[in-house]
């Protein structure tokens, strides 16, 4: 007699993506017949809140989409509006925005590695448990996280919903004394990040090879962060304005997140996709760490995402030190904007991956319409595909607790905005005789 196992993995609390979520698995004859990662995200209607808002209010609105990556939302938004208002940020603004963005990558990745991901690999439930055996490593992680937060606050007054970014530049430039105070800590942070990379490289990871398409921005002369063209491992190379010609979003019954596809196929965005596509543009010292880690790129193993994040923390610190040590000259912290009607596009690399915005403005610069495609909806189809493959490879005859933990760990590789919640996958099995 064959037996059907119906496994529900529930995700009751989601970061920014709140409410009930569940993983539905139907296993028949040792294979996954059906898999759905359900995400229930009560729509917060940001795209509608933006309609009718003044252009200068947009950075403060979109920050509220995500408390963990508000800078990313602000950066994509101002890029799109500057596009419309024909503002080209001067070299100082470009450099300092990159530094601020580095701060967000550092804090978000450090938080994810230490508080969300690593406990899985040490058999712990939380960072507090992890700190009992690895106090030094956890404290180092907290120092890096704090450094990232302090970098954001340097330009924005606070790390969550910072207030310094405006269309055309920054509301004010940071004080030279504060930069001078921060620089030695950033330099010490580079060495600590190198230790973090070596530590992460030594943590045993499952070997789970899968085929997938990587998508990221690519800049001409640097590891892309705040600007670039949309490229893929299949050879796609698009201006951000042309994103719609290959990427599409659809709405599926079991989830309130929209699903994105590239020419109809799932794809990956985020640290591993970026590293796969842009590792040749890493600074020399980061590339040396990459080579010493033994990681072969492009990687087909999503469990390498942890190491990719550690490497990106190192990159971000190296870049912050470089740019703050010798910033370009500037006269004003921002260029004034001359609002006008138009359509503009923003694309930057949030810590979790490509974040794409499109705005249409009226003649006074107020917002007529807005569209925002966050990284989590871009990764959603890939996450489901990954879960199916990796759970089958893991072995469906395993105990349900083991299947649940592997499912959680796989989901956390993507650091989705639901990752906090996925600490929380609850497994219930219904057995129904056929």
């Amino acid at each position: 007699m064959s037996e059907e196992r119906r496994i529900h993995i529930e995700v009751p609390v989601l970061a920014r993506v709140e409410g009930e979520g569940a993983l539905h698995l139907r296993i028949e004859d040792g294979r996954i017949e059906h898999l759905q990662l359900r995400i229930f995200e009560p729509p917060r209607f940001f795209e509608k809140f933006l309609e009718g808002r003044a252009w200068h209010e947009v950075p403060d609105v979109v920050a509220r989409i995500c408390g963990i990556c508000p800078v990313a939302y602000q950066m994509s938004a101002v890029q799109a509006l500057e596009d419309i208002f024909a503002i080209t940020p001067d070299p100082w603004v470009r450099a300092m925005r990159r530094v601020m963005y580095c701060g967000e990558w550092i804090q978000s990745h450090a938080l994810h590695i230490h508080l969300l991901a690593l406990p899985d690999f040490f058999g712990c439930n939380s960072v507090v448990e992890l700190a009992r055996d690895h106090a030094g490593e956890v404290r180092r992680g907290f120092r890096l996280q704090a450094l990232g937060n302090d970098l954001i606050a340097l330009f924005g007054g606070r790390s969550v919903h910072p207030v310094g970014v405006r269309v055309g530049g920054f509301h004010r430039a940071p004080d030279a004394e504060r930069i001078a105070e921060l620089l030695p800590r950033l330099e010490a942070g580079v060495a600590e990040a190198a230790d973090l990379v070596r530590w992460c490289a030594g943590i045993a990871m499952p070997d789970d090879q899968q085929e997938f398409v990587s998508v990221a921005l690519r800049a001409e002369d640097e590891y892309a962060m705040g600007e670039g063209r949309v490229v893929s491992s299949t050879g796609l190379d698009l201006a951000r304005q042309d994103y719609d010609s290959h990427f599409s979003e659809s709405h599926i019954a079991h989830s309130t997140a929209l699903y994105s596809h590239l020419d109809g196929q799932p794809y990956l965005v985020g640290p591993l996709a970026r590293l796969n596509l842009n590792h040749a543009q890493l600074p020399d010292s980061t590339r040396a760490l990459l080579q010493a880690s033994g990681l072969q790129l492009p990687s087909r193993n999503m469990f390498h995402s942890l190491l990719a994040r550690a490497l990106e923390i190192h990159l971000a610190l190296v870049e912050a030190v470089r740019l703050l040590s010798a910033p370009p000259a500037f006269e004003s912290a921002y260029q004034p904007a001359s609002p006008r009607a138009g359509i503009g596009y923003g694309a930057t690399e949030a810590p979790r991956g490509l974040l794409w915005h499109r705005y249409e403005t009226a003649a006074d610069g107020s917002i007529v319409s807005a569209r925002i495609v966050p990284p989590t909806s871009q990764n959603q189809a890939r996450m489901e595909e990954d879960l199916k493959q990796s759970l089958e490879a893991f072995g469906l005859d395993q105990h349900e607790d083991a299947i649940r933990l592997r499912g959680e760990t796989v989901i956390r590789n993507y650091d989705p905005c639901i990752s906090c919640a996925t600490h929380f996958l609850r497994l219930g099995i219904e057995r129904e005789p056929q």
């Binding site: 709140e18 409410g19 019954a253 309130t256 600490h423």
Partner: protein
């Protein structure tokens, strides 16, 4: 031996930014378990949402039918309930939907609106259950949260400070954005706690810490009119992060009707 108070951190509809007041606390995050028994905090990995607790921190607004049931259960199992952040204290920025027709919005964003289940409104926690302390801010700071915990550990009522942002600008010797620059600064009616960072950055406060005590919104709105703002602009100033906080909602709606 004293028993450590049991604590839970719950999330409702929000951006997660206020939970970062805990998660960004660094060393203090490791020290907290010596003082408190954190039994539920999903983002940090502690899971027991239904456990009885001495203190429950609640982030986010009530947004779905399930949320209503959940906050009632949390209230029933908590001795002291603290709402943290603009979403929990006033419905948050997503309370802007309370001013619009949600059904139309669902149709505009989602191809299959029938899959989307929400309440008509985004509501503050205190509209559903009794709240013992509100910590305002978008986001709240680690200092606010730690001060509340410290006070409760000492068995005293936490201090409620709803002074105005202006007080902090004076202490910081920040040049007044309203008077000196003619910017429509909400500092004179907004509660302190942020450190008056917007004026320090040379820009006008946008009210993310919600109304101060005794906010004279009417006088400030007239002042904005004197600066040349149209009624629609004045309405938008008040109907923003804390749009459903009563003082801001009343002033904003008044000017919206004039627009």
């Amino acid at each position: 031996m004293t028993t450590r108070p049991k604590v839970a951190v719950h999330k409702f509809s929000s951006c997660d930014g206020c939970q970062l007041a805990f998660l960004n606390a660094g060393e203090a995050l490791l020290a907290l378990p010596e003082l408190l028994d954190i039994v539920h905090f999903a983002e940090a990995g502690m899971l027991d949402p239904d456990a009885p607790v001495d203190i429950a921190f609640v982030e986010g607004s009530v947004y779905t039918p399930e949320d209503v049931d959940r906050i009632r259960r949390i209230r029933a199992s908590s001795r002291y309930l603290i709402s943290i952040g603009a979403c929990a204290t006033s419905g948050g920025i997503q309370a802007l939907r309370n001013l619009g027709d949600t059904r139309d919005w669902v149709g505009a964003i989602y191809a299959r609106p029938e899959y989307i289940q929400t309440l008509d409104q985004s509501r503050a926690i205190a509209e559903e259950v009794k709240v013992d302390l509100e910590l305002w801010g978008c986001p709240v700071t680690t200092a606010q949260v730690v001060a509340a915990i410290r006070a409760l550990l000492y068995g005293v009522a936490p201090v409620k400070n709803r002074d105005k942002v202006c007080m902090d600008c004076k202490r910081n010797q920040t040049v007044c954005t309203l008077v000196a620059k003619g910017e429509p600064c909400l500092g004179p009616v907004t509660g302190t706690g942020c450190g008056a960072i917007c004026p320090a950055f040379g820009r006008d406060c946008y009210g993310c810490f919600g109304p101060a005590e005794n906010p004279n919104t009417g006088a400030l709105a007239q002042c904005f009119q004197g600066l040349g703002l149209l009624p629609v602009d004045i309405a938008r100033r008040f109907l923003f992060i804390s749009n459903d906080a009563p003082a801001f909602a009343a002033e904003g709606k008044k000017w919206r009707e004039e627009a």
